[in-house]
């Protein structure tokens, strides 16, 4: 009966996952603020509360994400690349390629049949093509990012969004809105651009089925559809996709203490 926790401190959100007996027994998600150490603690305690467990029952806490070193109470750290691979493998054992689009970066990871990282590629530091890009553009359309996923389905005449820079794209979107373009079509244009950039990253590691899409942006249905369309491939998306990094971290911790990996 080993209870383990994985805490993923991303650029945008903090996620925590509790695993026991190869099963997810608790989770939490909250935006990160200015105090990462506290955010990490809060993520863990929320997950515990949600599942009715107590801190002392947790055998090991593993930190990941760009703020992993701020999981001060954790025992281990693993990079988010390793964690997304492991977590995706746990949810979809056939995974060979993971595409993770989070708040500030995009990664493509190639994994072997055991869920180990074979190769990975990441984008450069620029908000173009990341979750932040969608947040900003959703704002320009007058929506929250959680609403735009379903909205884009059924676009008929996608507009061409020519700017990749988030700031320029935002005003391009604003002017499309002012010109009375259908938000569906604008979104379809935005997704097309992000997917192109993601594909180029995926090409670096080589695309082969199964592809698992993780990170907050994978909750966006429109993005999923666009990606599938361009890859001519069905892709895996779990309802827990935003937690994949935290799941991986928890599993690493489990392995470390000699528990049975999933």
């Amino acid at each position: 009966m080993t209870l383990v926790a994985g805490v993923d401190i991303g650029s945008t959100t903090a996620k925590c996952i509790l695993i026991e007996n190869g099963e997810i027994v608790g989770k939490s998600l909250a935006p990160v603020g200015v105090e990462l150490v506290k955010d990490a603690e809060r993520a863990l305690s929320q997950a515990l509360t949600e599942s009715g467990r107590e801190r002392r029952e947790v055998t090991v806490v593993t930190g990941t994400g760009y703020g992993r070193f701020k999981v001060a109470f954790g025992q281990f750290t693993v990079t988010e690349i390793g964690c997304h691979a492991k977590g995706a493998h746990f949810l979809f054992p056939g995974t060979r390629v993971v595409l993770d689009i989070g708040g500030q970066d995009t990664k493509a990871i190639k994994v072997d049949p055991r869920g180990e990282v074979v190769d990975f590629a990441m984008n450069d530091k620029c908000a173009a093509g990341t979750g932040r890009f969608l947040d900003v553009c959703a704002g320009a359309l007058g929506y929250d990012v959680s609403e735009i996923g379903a909205l884009s389905l059924g676009a008929r005449h996608p507009v061409k969004v020519t700017n990749t820079c988030t700031v320029f794209a935002e005003s391009e979107v604003t002017s499309y809105v002012a010109r009375g373009k259908d938000p569906k079509d604008i979104l379809a244009g935005l997704y097309g651009g992000i997917v192109s950039r993601s594909l180029s990253l995926m090409q670096r590691v080589g695309v082969e089925p199964e592809v698992t899409f993780t990170g907050g942006v994978s909750k966006n249905e429109g993005m999923v559809r666009t990606l599938e369309h361009r890859l001519v491939l069905k892709i895996n998306v779990s309802p827990l996709s935003q937690y994949v990094g935290a799941i991986g971290a928890a599993l690493y911790g489990l392995e470390r203490v000699g528990g049975i990996p999933a």
Binding site: S11, V32, G33, V34, E35, L36, Q104, K125, C126, A127, R132, F133, V136, T164, C165, T166, V167, F168, S171, T174, S175, Y176, V177, A178, R179
Partner: protein, 272 residues
């Protein structure tokens, strides 16, 4: 003879009415919100009302700014770089170097004594180092734009922002807040970082006194100070310089009108 200059910018639309190419009668400003035509019309209407002239007395209208072609009732359009140069020399006749920082772009240019642009340099593909960055910081730090400058100017140890991206710099600012860097130091750091980027453009063009700052950022005294410090030159600034491009457009309109000797018909929207 009244001419109008309208600067249809990505963030704000600015307008001026100019009499005989010499006297500024009115200035106007409105957020563009993706609809430059409407914003332009509103600015014009308000100015005309303010100085109490008939719309018809405005004999020539020259547009500038990103949406200069979108405005149908114009007689001429000029690029905002050309216009800013003219406007800066109108406000400060000794100007030989102009720095223009707007919401999405920053430019540096050297100008002749008539305000003709001799050489210029701008960032094309990336909005790092432009006003949008300041807006986002203001929003995140919950400091209204107008209150940023006094706080920034009180900074003892400004904290520079290293991120190149206008959007991702937020994270760095979050970290600074977390590390309990005083608000003033963060704010001044923001302006100094912008100044640093502008300085690279300025050097590319070649810095010659007098230097004049134009565009929206001129509204911030902290920006003026930061630029002066970074480039080690005195910087002319005047709140009217936010309207420099509109002024320049009105001036060029005036000289066109004089050359023609009569009032031409307005162009309708030709292209975007």
């Amino acid at each position: 003879m009244i001419t109008c200059g309208l600067d249809l910018g990505a963030g704000t639309t600015k307008g001026v009415l100019l009499e005989d190419g010499q006297r500024l009668l009115a200035t106007g400003l409105a957020p563009t919100r993706g609809n430059p035509v409407e914003a332009g019309r509103r600015v014009l209407e308000r100015m005309v009302e303010e100085v109490n002239v008939l719309p018809d007395e405005v004999e020539y209208l020259c547009t500038t700014g990103g949406a200069r072609y979108a405005y149908p009732d114009r007689h001429l359009q000029v690029s905002d770089i050309t216009a800013s140069g003219r406007g800066a020399v109108f406000l400060f006749p000794g100007t030989r170097h102009v720095v223009d920082i707007g919401s999405q772009s920053s430019r540096a240019m050297s100008v002749s004594e008539t305000g003709r642009v001799v050489r210029f340099k701008m960032n094309e593909k990336c909005a790092a180092g432009a006003g949008r960055f300041v807006d986002r910081c203001a929003k995140y730090l919950q400091v209204p734009l107008d209150e940023m400058a006094p706080k920034a100017l009180a900074a003892a140890h400004p904290k520079m922002i290293s991120s190149v991206c206008a959007v991702l710099a937020e994270t760095e600012i979050i970290n600074n807040v977390a590390d309990e860097v005083p608000l003033g130091d963060i704010l001044m750091g923001v302006f100094l970082s912008l100044a640093q980027r502008a300085y690279i453009l300025m050097r590319n063009v070649g810095i010659q006194p007098e230097v004049t700052l134009v565009g929206g950022l001129v509204r911030s005294e902290a920006m003026v100070r930061a630029l002066g410090q970074t480039a080690k030159v005195a910087v002319n600034a005047d709140s009217r310089a936010h309207h420099a491009a509109a002024i320049g457009a009105a001036l060029l309109g005036h000289s066109r009108l004089q050359k023609l000797g009569h009032r031409p018909v307005a162009l309708s929207a030709v292209e975007v």
